[in-house]
């Protein structure tokens, strides 16, 4: 090994180790920032090491790309509001997928397609996963920021067509392994993979977004991994495995929290199930809704010793996290115990609610997972549901016909009283009726969550004891 290669490979080795150490530090909030710094140092070492690569003859495009990327990346990192986190993550999967796919195409171009079987298969998978991640994430981004319809888009024979496209992609990759020089098949694979990304995300609704984002995360990692095999670059393999593994683990956590099967998640065949089940549950809308005023809700708070807040996507939409924190702080000052119950799939991505509440300065030791808090509902005076729907739907426990039956949900109905903040009685995204909203213990306060909570804070402040 010549000194140059040795230097580069050592840089990659150090980077790989630092990435894993950084991830380890991410297991606790106290050390997490140190972990990010470790990984950033690792990245710097890897990039500086690469600049010594003997193949590099021209610096203009490298510098241009680095400058342009930094110019776009800095504002994206510093300016994007926390409420837009899911969109931001989807967008970065999109960039990641595109970068890897283009490296694969460039690798094919520079060898004129003359790659041996091992490198061709790796390049094929690289382009396939990269392209699927690119268009899939673009679709997810569009759905999340509202530029595409958020409801599942379906058409006849959808699953068959998507399945055939997927099989064709695999077949084309196989063909390329045997006949690596075939330019038409290679670009055909690229184009079909782009289309497949669109097809996979098209039928997926907003409530299923957490799973999709995790899956796309996983695909992006697999793409990077494949590119490591294609370019014989171990740091790409290690990092791709970490990224792909992380996305996969998160997808499993999400699927478990939604009671979806492994295959259901892996092949992305969701969305359609929920849509089909819409009419399966009825009756709830006929029952009486106990609509209440802010004052009535505040009276409940005044005499409560313990309160659990259950936030959902509605809190993010209403940007109510700061108001929620204010209400929590106000209640705590009065001696009430306030805790937050965070469902794994609340919001549009894993950990979405935690980040929003952390942004609003809610201390993280007040945030509790499903398993940690679910047994405490029965001993709680008031549950405040802020824009959550499916994760508090008792149908998941009681009605086998419901599309969410079997999904672990919060035992809100076991508390002494429930206050639900909701815009209107329209069913949630999945179109499923929610019996909690017509439960005798439940008080519905309609209106914008942020405004309602601010009014509650005001009433508590004036009302004294």
């Amino acid at each position: 090994m010549d000194p140059q290669t040795l230097a580069i490979q050592s840089a990659y080795f150090v980077a790989s180790v630092l990435f894993i150490l950084g991830l380890r530090d991410l297991t606790h909030p106290d050390t997490a920032r140190r972990g990010t710094n470790l990984a950033a140092v690792g990245m710097l070492i890897a990039v500086v090491g690469t600049l010594a690569h003997q193949d590099i003859v021209s610096w203009w495009l490298i510098l241009g790309g680095l400058v342009l990327g930094t110019a776009i990346g800095v504002p994206m990192g510093l300016k994007i509001p926390m409420t837009m986190m899911p969109e931001r993550i989807a967008l970065s999967h999109c960039f990641g997928g595109l970068a890897v796919a283009l490296v694969g195409v460039a690798e094919f171009v520079r060898h004129d397609g003359q790659l041996d079987a091992m490198h061709m298969s790796a390049t094929g998978f690289e382009v396939f996963f990269g392209a699927v991640t690119f268009t899939g994430s673009l679709m997810a981004f569009g759905k999340l920021n509202g530029s595409l319809p958020g409801k599942p888009t379906t058409f006849p024979m959808q699953n068959v067509i998507t399945g055939l496209a997927g099989i064709a992609c695999v077949a084309m990759t196989m063909y390329l392994i045997v006949n690596p020089g075939n330019v038409v098949v290679f670009y055909g694979l690229f184009a079909l993979s782009l289309l497949l990304g669109v097809l996979i995300v098209l039928p997926i609704g907003g409530a299923d977004m957490p799973v999709v984002i995790c899956l796309l995360n996983s695909y992006a990692g697999l793409a990077a991994c494949a590119s490591g095999f294609a370019l014989s670059n171990p740091v790409l393999i290690v990092t791709g495995s970490l990224d792909g593994g992380s996305g996969f683990i998160l997808a499993m956590v999400m699927s478990k929290a939604m009671n979806r099967s492994f295959t259901n998640v892996l092949f992305g065949a969701f969305g359609s199930d929920a849509a089909a089940g819409t009419s399966a549950v009825g009756g709830a809308s006929n029952a009486a809704v106990n609509a209440a005023t802010v004052e009535e809700a505040v009276d409940l708070f005044k005499y409560a010793d313990s309160v659990i807040v259950v936030p959902g996507y509605g809190m993010a939409v209403a940007q109510a996290q700061h108001a929620v924190r204010e209400l929590g702080a106000m209640l705590e000052k009065r001696g009430t115990r306030v805790r937050f119950a965070i469902h794994p799939v609340a919001g549009r991505m894993p950990g979405h609610m935690n980040v929003l509440l952390a942004e609003a300065n809610v201390p993280y030791d007040s945030l509790f997972d499903l398993d940690a808090i679910n047994d405490d509902f029965s001993s709680t005076d008031v549950v405040l549901v802020v824009g959550a729907n499916d994760v508090v739907n008792p149908a998941a426990k009681t009605s086998p016909g419901s599309p969410i039956y079997g999904m672990p949900v919060f035992n809100c109905d076991e508390a002494k009283a429930v206050i639900c903040l909701k815009r209107s009685m329209n069913p949630g995204f999945a179109g499923i009726e929610n019996d909690l909203f017509v439960h005798p213990k439940t008080m519905m306060v309609f209106g914008d969550a942020k405004k309602t909570i601010q009014e509650m804070v005001g009433a508590l402040r004036e009302g004294g004891h």
Partner: protein
């Protein structure tokens, strides 16, 4: 390998992989498998509290494809490969720079009751 070659019609258009090549492949699969295990052990310990920063973090480190993009953009590989590399460098840099910044920005916000982080 042989099986695939039998499937191929006509003479193989590429040189046959040497045995050294095959050793390399196996070596990379070792790395792949070990990294998957290490990743699994570490990542499954990340609490749900930090799942969004985890995604932002892995996004940022997956920007490591920057190192491949850089060589593609600056190597003597012809203009097509170079320009594709340029776009890849741009995209990967966005992820690296933006990813680390936003991860740190998020993590800064997580604090315990009454105290600093």
């Amino acid at each position: 390998m042989n099986y695939l070659l039998i499937l191929a019609s006509g003479p193989p258009p590429v040189p046959l992989p040497t045995s050294a090549m095959n050793d390399d492949v196996l070596f990379y699969f070792y790395i792949f498998a070990l990294a998957l295990f290490a990743g699994y052990v570490v990542i499954s310990k990340v609490p749900a509290l930090l799942h969004t920063p985890l995604m932002a973090f892995t996004n940022a480190i997956a920007g490591i494809s920057l190192v491949a993009s850089i060589v593609m953009a600056g190597g003597d590989y012809g203009p097509t490969a170079n320009w594709l590399g340029f776009v890849a460098v741009t995209c990967a840099t966005i992820n690296v720079v933006g990813g680390f910044l936003i991860t740190d920005r998020m993590l800064k916000m997580f604090r315990k009751k009454g105290g600093e982080q």
